[in-house]
C-alpha cells in the first residue's frame, strides 16, 4: 500500500498547487503563445482589439514574414545583434571572471573586501546598470572625457549611438553560412569519432557533413530569402551595452570560479609541484580542466540571460534604436504598441526556441548525471 501512505498523500497535497500553477501559467501559456503565433491575430487592426476578434489560422506565415518579409529587416538585425551580444558577453564575463578569481585565489590583502566589491554590481537590476552606464557613455561626457584628465583631447567614440557596423554579411547568404558552419562541425565530429575508433558514428557524421556541404556548394547559392541584398553586421553601438552587461555579470562568474578554485584539493597542487610542474603548467594541465564544468554552467546561465535581455537595452538606448535592438524588445513593441499579437507571439516563440537550444542539452546532461549517481 505504498501508493496511499500518509507521506505520499502529504507530498502530493503539498506539490499539487505548484504543479497546477506551473501547468497553467508556464506550460499553458507557452502553448497558448505558440498557438497565437500560428494565427493572424492583429494583422488586421480592426480585429486586433475588438471585443470578439475573428482569429484565423495561418500556419507558419508569421515566421516566414519574420525571416523573409520585406518589412522585418529590424528583426533580422536583432537576431544578428543577439548572436554577437551573446558571444562577446559570455567571453567577456568568463575571461574577466576567471581573471579576477585567479587574482583573488592568491589570497591578496583585503580579499573579502575585493570579493564584495567585484560581486556588488550583480545586486543591481539591469535597469539601474543601464541608466548608470548610459550616463557614462554619453557622447560628450563620461568615458569620452577621461583623456582630458591627462591633457589629451576628449574621445570621439559614440558608444551607444554609433550607426556603423563591422563584419557585415548579406542575409541571403544565411542558409549558406549556416550549412557551412554545421557541416564543418560535423566533419570535426567525424574526425574525432574516427580517432576514437567509433566507426559508425564517424561514417554517419561524415555523410551528413558531405550532404550539407554539397547542398551549401550547389543549391545554397541559389536560395534567395529576400528580393534585394540586406546587410547585417555587428553594430558598434552594441559595444557600450556589452561593457555594461559584462560589468554587471562578471562578478558572478568570479564567484563561481573562486568557489571552484577553492574546491580543488591542495594535495593535487602539491602533487603537481612535486612532479615538477611550473605555475603555468599547473594551471594549464591541472586547474583549468577541473574548472571546465563550472565554465559550462556559467555559460548556460549567461547564455540565457543574454538571449532574453530586454531591460538593459531599453534603459541604455531606448526602445526605438534599431541598431542596438534585441528580439525581446521587438516582441514587446510589436505586441503592445503595434497590436500585432500573432507576430509578437512568433518572436516570443523564436526566443523560446533559442533559449531551449542552450538549456535543454544542459538539462538532459544533468538529469543523466543524477541518474548515474543514483
Amino acid at each position: 500500500m505504498k501508493g496511499l501512505s500518509r507521506d505520499r498523500l502529504w507530498s502530493i497535497a503539498v506539490l499539487l498547487p505548484s504543479i497546477l500553477l506551473l501547468a497553467v501559467f508556464v506550460y499553458g501559456f507557452i502553448a497558448r503563445t505558440v498557438y497565437v503565433s500560428l494565427t493572424d491575430w492583429g494583422n488586421d487592426p480592426a480585429q486586433a482589439l475588438a471585443l470578439d476578434p475573428i482569429i484565423r489560422w495561418v500556419g507558419l506565415a508569421n515566421y516566414q514574414e519574420l525571416f523573409t518579409g520585406f518589412l522585418q529587416g529590424r528583426f533580422r538585425q536583432e537576431l544578428v545583434n543577439t548572436i554577437f551580444f551573446t558571444l562577446f558577453f559570455i567571453l567577456g564575463c568568463l575571461g574577466l571572471g576567471l581573471g579576477l578569481a585567479l587574482v583573488l585565489d592568491r589570497n591578496p590583502r583585503g580579499e573579502g573586501l575585493w570579493r564584495t566589491i567585484f560581486l556588488f554590481p550583480m545586486s543591481l537590476s539591469f535597469i539601474v546598470t543601464g541608466t548608470i552606464w548610459r550616463w557614462m557613455l554619453q557622447p560628450q561626457g563620461g568615458v569620452n572625457q577621461f583623456p582630458n584628465a591627462v591633457g589629451l583631447p576628449a574621445g570621439q567614440f559614440s558608444w551607444l549611438s554609433s550607426t556603423d557596423a563591422v563584419w557585415k554579411f548579406d542575409w541571403n547568404a544565411l542558409p549558406l553560412i549556416t550549412a557551412s558552419v554545421v557541416g564543418l562541425v560535423l566533419i570535426l565530429l567525424a574526425v574525432r569519432a574516427a580517432r576514437a575508433g567509433d566507426r559508425t558514428r564517424a561514417i554517419v557524421s561524415g555523410l551528413c557533413a558531405a550532404l550539407l556541404l554539397g547542398w551549401a556548394l550547389f543549391i545554397g547559392p541559389n536560395v534567395r530569402l529576400l528580393p534585394a541584398p540586406e546587410l547585417h553586421g555587428f553594430n558598434l553601438a552594441l559595444i557600450g551595452i556589452i561593457i555594461a552587461a559584462v560589468w554587471q555579470m562578471s562578478g558572478y562568474t568570479m564567484a563561481l570560479y573562486l568557489a571552484g578554485l577553492r574546491g580543488i584539493p591542495e594535495e593535487l597542487r602539491e602533487a603537481a609541484k612535486v612532479d615538477g610542474a611550473s605555475d603555468f603548467g599547473m594551471y594549464r594541465h591541472v586547474i583549468f580542466p577541473l574548472l571546465a564544468p563550472i565554465t559550462l554552467s556559467a555559460m548556460i546561465i549567461l547564455g540565457h540571460i543574454s538571449l532574453k535581455i530586454f531591460d538593459l537595452v531599453y534603459a541604455m538606448t531606448g526602445p526605438d534604436n534599431t541598431y542596438t535592438s534585441v528580439p525581446a524588445l521587438n516582441m514587446y513593441l510589436t505586441s503592445f504598441r503595434q497590436n500585432q499579437f500573432a507576430l509578437g507571439a512568433a518572436i516570443g516563440t523564436i526566443l523560446l526556441i533559442l533559449v531551449a537550444f542552450v538549456i535543454v542539452p544542459y538539462l538532459t546532461s544533468s538529469f543523466r548525471g543524477e541518474e548515474g549517481h543514483a
Binding site: S161, D320, Y323, R337
Partner: protein, 411 residues
C-alpha cells in the same frame, strides 16, 4: 474606543453621502504636466461637488506606459470612464476600428463645438461617420528653432525652403559648424521627416498621403525621402543618444544652428533654460511649411461600457469649454484647440502659435498620432532607421507603402 468607532462610522456615512457620483480619469499627465490637469479637476469639482474624482495617472513620456495599461484594462473589460489619447488616428486606428468607443457627434452638436473648433480639426477627429474625442489642447510640430545671436555671427538667416536649407547647411559647414542641424533619438528623426515631407509635398499632398490618394511610392514622396537624406547629412552623428532636450541644448549653447521640434521646446527654453523668445531662441515654421500648422492634440474619449457615463460626459463637456481650455493650456504650455480662447493668459510664443492656429491650414502630425494608427507609426521608426543607414529612398518608400497597406491607411 467607542468614540473612534463612532467617528469612523460617521465618516463612512458622510463619505458615501457626498460621493453621489464617481469619475475616473486616465491620463499620462504627471510631473510638469500634473498642475494643468489639477486645474481642470479643480474646475470640475467646483461644478460637480458631489462627484469623487479619481485621477488615475500612469506616468511615462508620450504615454508609452499608460497606453499599455490602458490596453490591459480595455481588454479586461474595466475601461476607465474617460482616457487621454493623442487626437486622430491613434485613437481611431486602434480603438474606434475595434468598435470600442462611443460616438461623440451628439455632444459636439449640442455644445456648438462644430463652430468652436477649426474645421480641419473636426476632420482629423472624424472617421466612420462619427467624431471620437474632445481635444483639450493643441501643440504645433513644424517649428524650426534657432539661436538668433549665433545665426547673426555666422551671417546666415533662417531658411524658408528645404533647398535653401541645404545651401545654408553647406555655408555653415564651410564655416566649421560640424552639424548645422541637431537631431535626437529615433522619434525626433521621424519628427524631422514629417516636416521635410510636408515641406516637400505641401499640406494637401500630405493629406493625400493619409487618405490613400497618393501612394508612398509616388516619385514626389521618393523625392521627399531623398531630401530627408540630404538634410540628415547636415545633422549630428550621435543622434540616437540624445533626448529632445539634449538636442535643444545644442541650439541654446550654439553648437548647432537649427533644430526641428514641437512647441514644447518653447516651454523648455523659457522655463528650464531661462531664455527669452526672439533673443535667447528664435522660431519660425519649418522650411516650406509657412501657412501650415502641423498639429497634435491631447484629447479625451468615451469608451463603451464606461461605468460612470454621465460624469464622464460632464468631464468631456468641461474639457471642450472655453473655461476648461483656458484653465488648462497656459499651465501645460500648449494652446487651446478652440479659436476663441483668451490670449492674454498666454506667453509670447503661444500667442504667435494661437494666431497661426486661427489663420493657417491645419494638418495632422504623423509621429504624434494624428494621421496614422499606432501600428504604422511604431514600425515606421525602423523604416527611418534603415533609410538613414542605407539612404535608399526607393526602398524606404516601398517599405512605407507596405506598412500603410498593412495598417489599413487609405481604405
Amino acid at each position: 474606543m467607542k468614540k473612534a468607532l463612532l467617528i469612523a462610522a460617521a465618516l463612512t456615512v458622510t463619505g458615501t453621502a457626498s460621493a453621489a457620483g464617481k469619475l475616473e480619469i486616465f491620463s499620462w499627465w504627471s510631473g510638469d504636466e500634473g498642475p494643468a490637469l489639477d486645474a481642470l479637476v479643480k474646475l470640475y469639482k467646483q461644478r460637480y461637488p458631489t462627484v469623487a474624482v479619481d485621477n488615475a495617472t500612469v506616468s511615462g513620456g508620450a504615454g508609452t506606459n499608460a497606453k499599455a495599461v490602458l490596453k490591459t484594462r480595455m481588454l479586461g473589460g474595466t475601461p476607465p470612464d474617460s482616457f487621454q489619447v493623442h487626437a486622430g488616428q491613434e485613437l481611431i486606428g486602434t480603438w474606434v476600428v475595434a468598435n470600442r468607443m462611443e460616438d461623440l457627434s451628439g455632444l459636439f452638436k449640442s455644445e456648438g463645438w462644430d463652430k468652436a473648433f477649426p474645421k480641419d480639426v473636426i476632420g482629423l477627429l472624424s472617421a466612420k461617420g462619427g467624431i471620437w474625442s474632445v481635444p483639450v489642447n493643441v501643440h504645433r510640430s513644424n517649428v524650426m528653432w534657432y539661436n538668433p545671436a549665433k545665426l547673426k555671427a555666422w551671417g546666415v538667416t533662417a531658411p524658408k525652403t528645404w533647398a535653401e536649407f541645404l545651401t545654408t547647411c553647406n555655408t555653415l559647414k564651410a564655416k566649421g559648424v560640424a552639424a548645422p542641424l541637431v537631431v535626437g533619438e529615433n522619434w525626433t528623426q521621424q519628427h524631422l521627416w514629417e516636416s521635410v515631407m510636408i515641406g516637400t509635398l505641401g499640406a494637401q499632398g500630405w493629406q493625400n498621403l493619409w487618405t490613400g490618394k497618393t501612394k508612398f511610392t509616388d516619385p514626389k514622396v521618393v523625392q521627399g525621402f531623398t531630401t530627408f537624406g540630404r538634410v540628415m547629412d547636415c545633422a549630428n552623428k550621435d543622434a540616437s543618444g540624445l533626448s529632445w532636450q539634449q538636442a535643444s541644448d545644442r541650439i541654446a549653447d550654439g553648437t548647432s544652428a537649427f533644430n526641428i521640434m514641437g512647441d514644447w521646446a518653447a516651454g523648455y527654453f523659457t522655463t528650464t533654460k531661462k531664455l527669452q523668445p526672439n533673443t535667447g531662441f528664435g522660431f519660425t515654421p519649418s522650411p516650406g511649411t509657412s501657412g501650415t500648422f502641423v498639429m497634435l492634440a491631447d484629447s479625451f474619449g468615451l469608451p463603451k461600457g464606461a461605468k460612470n457615463r454621465t460624469e464622464a460626459l460632464n468631464w468631456l463637456r468641461l474639457m471642450g469649454s472655453k473655461a476648461g481650455q483656458d484653465a488648462f493650456n497656459p499651465l501645460k504650455g500648449s494652446i487651446a484647440a478652440r479659436t476663441d480662447s483668451d490670449l492674454s493668459k498666454y506667453n509670447t510664443y503661444s500667442r504667435s502659435a494661437a494666431a497661426d492656429w486661427k489663420r493657417n491650414k491645419i494638418v495632422g502630425s504623423l509621429v504624434h498620432g494624428a494621421v496614422a494608427p499606432e501600428s504604422f507609426m511604431s514600425a515606421f521608426g525602423a523604416v527611418i532607421d534603415q533609410f538613414v543607414a542605407s539612404k535608399n529612398a526607393q526602398g524606404a518608400a516601398a517599405a512605407a507603402q507596405q506598412l500603410a497597406t498593412r495598417s489599413g491607411i487609405g481604405q
